[in-house]
Symmetry: C2
Subunit: 342 residues, 2 copies
């Protein structure tokens, strides 16, 4: 059976060390990805050529699109998207809108990616706020979907409800959870906990078709009590960044220990493979990146520090999202939800 060709655009100028990690990821992508996947590389031709020569790699013969401008991590998202139409980020979104790409992968300025996706691809009907989710490891066999981590501020109850719907679709289609348990992140389990927004959201979720299990607390997330954990963008952003920094602090302490006496260095060297296996899921590279949910297109955004491994995993995610028709599934779910929420 011949499968449909899937064209994925790659933003070569996105990450903190772009285009280096992007090029390293793309260089051996051919071996890693199914043959029906074709990449389209988007970046600044000269800077890419320079980096290819310096890295002494050979790129597969993928189509290349020159992007004269670059959006940096320091750029203001909305301003950057409007003032840099020739950036790799904006070009990638436009190519997808025109049907030239099935998906777009970037490790760029997250705010700018969210803005560009919303402006250029448009929102799915019924979605007020496109969102970014993240996967967090749990004690169970599967990670949980935590959203919004896209810094959507001042979320109203219906926004949080949308996040719950989209998170459920993501968990079902991409993680294979049949009836994803949805939890509302709060300061206690009782229905009356939290401020007005959280209380109203609780009622909306309770009345919905979702598998809502009630409020969950900060300590429940890693226990895997819920498959989908819903919160506003301020809480999500702070929890995610705090969690990442805590994991990094732990790693740093372990590494510090491993740099002690010769004797201790030897002990750690012996334990290294076991340590690595045990903490693999706490490493963001493991999941790569996550899609922007709620826009009419497939956009996978990763950490600015994305390694070649993380970027390769993002390409795999993009391909899966296209194959499983994630965008269409989200559209259907939002239609269904609009009816049941009215």
């Amino acid at each position: 059976m011949s499968r449909r060709r899937i064209r994925i655009g790659v933003d070569l100028m996105g990450g903190d060390s772009a285009p280096v990690n992007e090029l390293l990821a793309v260089a051996d992508a051919e071996r890693q990805l199914p043959e029906e996947v074709e990449l389209v590389l988007i970046g600044h031709a000269e800077r890419v050529k320079e980096a290819v020569q310096r890295l002494k790699i050979r790129l597969p013969r993928y189509p290349f699109v020159h992007a004269e401008e670059v959006i940096t991590m320091q750029d203001d998202p909305t301003l950057a998207v409007r003032s840099k139409p020739a950036s790799s980020l904006v070009l990638g979104m436009q190519l997808q809108r025109e049907g030239e790409l099935d998906a777009f992968v970037t490790a760029g300025n997250t705010g700018a990616v969210l803005t560009a996706a919303t402006l250029l691809l448009g929102r799915i009907t019924g979605v007020g706020r496109p969102t970014i989710a993240t996967l967090v490891p749990t004690e169970q066999t599967r990670p949980a979907v935590l959203l919004d981590v896209g810094a959507n501020v001042e979320c109203r109850p219906h926004h949080l409800y949308e996040f719950a719907v989209m998170g459920s679709v993501y968990a079902r289609e991409m993680l294979g959870v049949e009836s994803p348990r949805v939890g509302l992140l709060n300061v206690g389990e009782e229905a009356g906990k939290g401020g007005r927004t959280l209380r109203e959201t609780y009622q909306l979720l309770k009345q919905s078709w979702l598998n809502f299990i009630g409020n969950v607390e900060g300590r429940d997330v890693l226990r895997g009590v819920a498959d989908v954990v819903v919160c506003d963008g301020i809480v999500g952003n702070i929890v995610l960044k705090f969690g990442e920094s805590l994991a990094a602090a732990f790693r740093a302490r372990l590494q510090g220990l491993a740099r002690g006496s010769l004797w201790r260095r030897m002990l750690f060297w012996l334990l290294r493979p076991a340590l690595r296996r045990a903490f693999r899921e706490f490493d963001y590279q493991h999941y790569g990146g996550v899609p922007i949910l709620g826009v009419r297109g497939t956009v996978i955004v990763g950490h600015g520090r994305s390694t070649p491994l993380a970027l390769r995993n993002m390409l795999v995610r993009a391909q899966e999202a296209v194959r499983r028709s994630l965008v269409q599934r989200l559209e259907t779910a939002m239609q269904l939800s609009a009816v049941s929420a009215s």
Copy 2:
């Protein structure tokens, strides 16, 4: 020079395994605490007697106050405080109000402790919302003060401002930071980040006498960028509980590794002291507990799971808070702040 006597009430019925850990903490408190400290034990006489016999310990000859009722972790805070006037928690607060105690230490239901302290001791003039802070380890030599973690929901800008003032006084008096750097926990560094409440708080803090360094992100907390990190009770509660569970998950993975083959068990046994030293600050026992800030009295509240070590550290904290006149310092600072904020 003879020092003034300090009387500290101890809630024997507070923690999850009460009165066991409380009694173990109190049993050798005499050796640990300065001689001018006298403890007053408050608990259910029969249950305490039973536990003392079972544990085969001898209690120092401290005064004992019988409490017929017990407030549990499952009790609703406000209801419990009103309906159980003979509980150790309520009695402890009353004794302090009447001047019989200088401080009160408990590992009980945090919500009930906050409610009882507010109702029975009263608020410091100018304080709208008494708060609970927590200490988080940083890469610097000192921990940071994170507040509110007392689940104060729907905080207005002036509440967050109060938290900043009280956190600063705590950092100065109890941690010895001369001019504590205050950061507002937000989704980005720019002044315009976050919702309306955060933006207005930013302006309030900027105009104040505090050493305000601007917004800090979730990843900045452990870096020790700020000495005082201000957030609303929802964010604080979720970040704290998520962080605790992440630290616990890391420990569990390490312990899981240490239970592997005989060879691996041996390696871990050899590394154990170094691991323990490296991660000590991530253990809540290290700090013990933190005071309720903003009430007219010294109340130290600890984790329900507080070990004897944690409880002993809480007694030390209580004694320090009394000696350094923390409550009077907070009163002065609130007076000063009311003027500068008007």
